[in-house]
């Protein structure tokens, strides 16, 4: 340790009494490790992972609906009534969980719903001819790819509003699938369900996560079960596969993450680039 009359100060101006490569005891004294790293707990990670699982299930539910509609097991009218019921239930729940959605009135909500439904209804006969020249294999491959893209680009950190890329991919995939259904009403029912599942459900789920954190895992579990159940009637092997995927996603992956957490070694020190934490956009609005 330096014991001379002059302490080796950490300054660059002025001559130091030591050679330039001298290493004093305060070298790396300001080194910090893992600053601000939050210790993850297994169940909280698993809860968040439930969101990923339920989104995978959503896609499975959608495919199951399409398949039963295509096979004729489900009449389109029943599906539409179911959709209406689900929409009203969801809307009520959404309202019950706290209003004040940026000053939108019920009338405005009804208007946009009516516009969407009218457009979808008007254009559903066109869908049939839209993909007529494309082979069925291509349409299936395309929709599979699009639904996969939806899952990959879904903004899991904050599902509401749904990311434009993932929402567009999902809607494009559902249009592809709907165009292969036998009738115009079938296509219309399918598209309304696509909107329900891929556009509105994430918003409701986000609201649920914010306002009723206890109910959120149950909702996710419900959707997951619906996915597995819906797929089991269609393709039992697939439903087992989905179940295994869901278990791996929600239980095994968080375990791995928590285990790997132990090896985290972030180095911080005065050399780090300072972060601007405040909101500077207020000066420009």
């Amino acid at each position: 340790p330096p014991c001379g009359p002059v302490e080796n100060k950490k300054v660059l101006y002025g001559r130091q009494p030591y050679p330039d490569n001298y290493v004093d005891r305060r070298f790396l004294a300001e080194l910090r490790r893992n600053v601000g790293v939050q210790q993850l707990r297994y169940w909280s990670v698993a809860r968040e992972a439930g969101l990923v699982g339920q989104q995978v299930s959503c896609v499975a539910v959608f495919v199951a609906l399409w398949s039963s509609l295509d096979g004729g097991a489900l009449p389109p009218a029943a599906l539409l009534w179911g959709g209406l019921l689900a929409a009203l239930l969801g809307y009520g729940l959404h309202g019950a969980l706290g209003g004040g959605t940026g000053g939108r009135t019920r009338w405005a909500d009804l208007q946009s719903a009516a516009i969407f439904l009218a457009f979808t209804f008007g254009f559903s006969p066109v869908l049939k001819t839209l993909t007529e020249s494309v082979s069925t294999d291509t349409v299936y491959a395309m929709s599979a790819l699009m639904l996969l893209a939806h899952l990959l680009f879904f903004p899991y950190a904050r599902p509401s509003p749904p990311g434009s890329l993932s929402l567009n991919a999902a809607l494009f995939g559902s249009v592809c699938l709907a165009s292969r259904l036998p009738g115009a009403l079938h296509a219309f029912a399918m598209l309304t369900w696509a909107l329900l599942l891929f556009a509105l459900w994430p918003c409701l789920l986000q609201r649920l996560r914010d306002r009723a954190p206890r109910a959120f895992p149950w909702a996710a579990a419900l959707v997951s079960l619906a996915g597995v159940g819906g797929l089991s009637g269609l393709w039992p092997g697939g439903s087992v596969l989905l179940l295994l995927t869901l278990l791996a996603l929600t239980l095994a992956c968080p375990l791995l993450l928590v285990r790997l957490q132990r090896h985290k070694d972030n180095i911080h020190g005065p050399w780090d680039e300072a972060e601007i934490r405040e909101d500077l956009s207020r000066f420009l609005d």
């Binding site: 001379g4 950490k10 300054v11 101006y13 030591y18 330039d20 300072a274 420009l284």
Partner: protein, 481 residues
Amino acid sequence: CGVLLTTATFAPPTPALVRSHRATARAAGSGRHRICMVSDFFYPNMGGVESHIYQLSQCLVEQGHKVVIATHAYGDRRGVRYLTRGLKVYYLPLQVMYNQSTSTTCFHSLPLLRCVFVRERITVVHAHSSFSAMAHDALFHAKTMGLNTVFTDHSLFGFADVSSVLTNKLLTVSLCDTNHIICVSYTSKENTVLRAGLDPEIVSVIPNAVDPTEFTPDPGRRDDSKITVVVVSRLVYRKGIDLLGGIIPELCAKHPDLCFLIGGEGPKRIVLEEVREKYQLHDRVRLLGALDHKDVRDVLVQGHIFLNTSLTEAFCMAIVEGASCGLQVVSTCVGGIPEVLPDEMVTLCEPTVRSLCDGLEIVIARQRSGSVPSPASIHRRVETLYTWRNVAERTEKVYNRVSGQEVLSLDRRLTRLTSHCGSVAGAIFAFIAVLNYLFLLLLQWLIPDDVIDIAIDGSGPQSCWTQTSSKKGKRKANQIL
């Protein structure tokens, strides 16, 4: 003398030992070095690294060393050029990839750099800047050729993201068998030691300097009826221009006689323009655009306060330049900045709008009450703090130390690479080192060293440089005859 030198630097030095250390350094200093500075960044490109290399080389030439500079060709500027005092610059035709940095293949630059090293009889290769691929290539080739190597790091890096993980790995490989490393501040030293996994004993801290004759105060140029804040920096995120965009409206609202003078260009200019537009500050915030190096002083002397809002900085040349022009300096306290100026010459703030505004308010109040020292006295003080001659003397000591060390032989270099850089990267680069050595053998067989003409020294002990004659070739040859 190398042994004595190292013991002297390793032990906690008593005054007597320090004296003996200096004495040995001076004794070794009588041996003149032939140094090749290598970096992608050199004039006509402008920046801190460029002027560092130029000023350091000039002072080393003045001390009697031979210095040549190797960089890549800048447009039309290719071949060999001479600068003041016979400083020779090789603009080598190497392909520029990105941001004025050449590509690194570890091989393609070997023939040219070998030719330069052999014909100039280089003893020490000094590479600059971790952003420069050519510098790393030169270190690699110099070690293959058995030359001593020194590296100067001018920048700070983080550890968090993928790109810095990769660059840090490359730096580890590049520096694990380099003889000595120079950093520009203590913070930079800590950063480099951590990034490259080095022994801190082989890392020296030698700051940058400014040319005090270039940055002189001129109080007559400023308008004392108002208070002018000067900012000179590239307008990029890392320089904290977003913070500046918050400071301007806050302070302009409070002080009607406050003006901002902003020099520099960059993608964040739009932020400042929007602020100026929104708060109607066209007459009080002047954006000067890109500045030539020679114009910087003219801008600085027009202000009372120099503001630096950088978010990261290894050694902030700009605040020293500002202080040298006699301005009050307000700066963020990041990286190596707190080490640069004495407390009474700089007001350090946290990198937030609030803290910077508070710091500026204090200085504005001091300026109004007239309790600030005069520009001339600040300038005189800065003049003594940093000089290039001091930097050159300290760098010279590094050269003396390095030239006493032996360069690792190929087998020991391979052991070092594999043991020090991890199994995968170490093995890959050990393989590249072997290939590089074989390539060197091939080149030596094609063009033996004794077939390469030894260059006539432009600087150094046998320098033939004279100030009087004007024609390059004639001057050179006249001296030989």
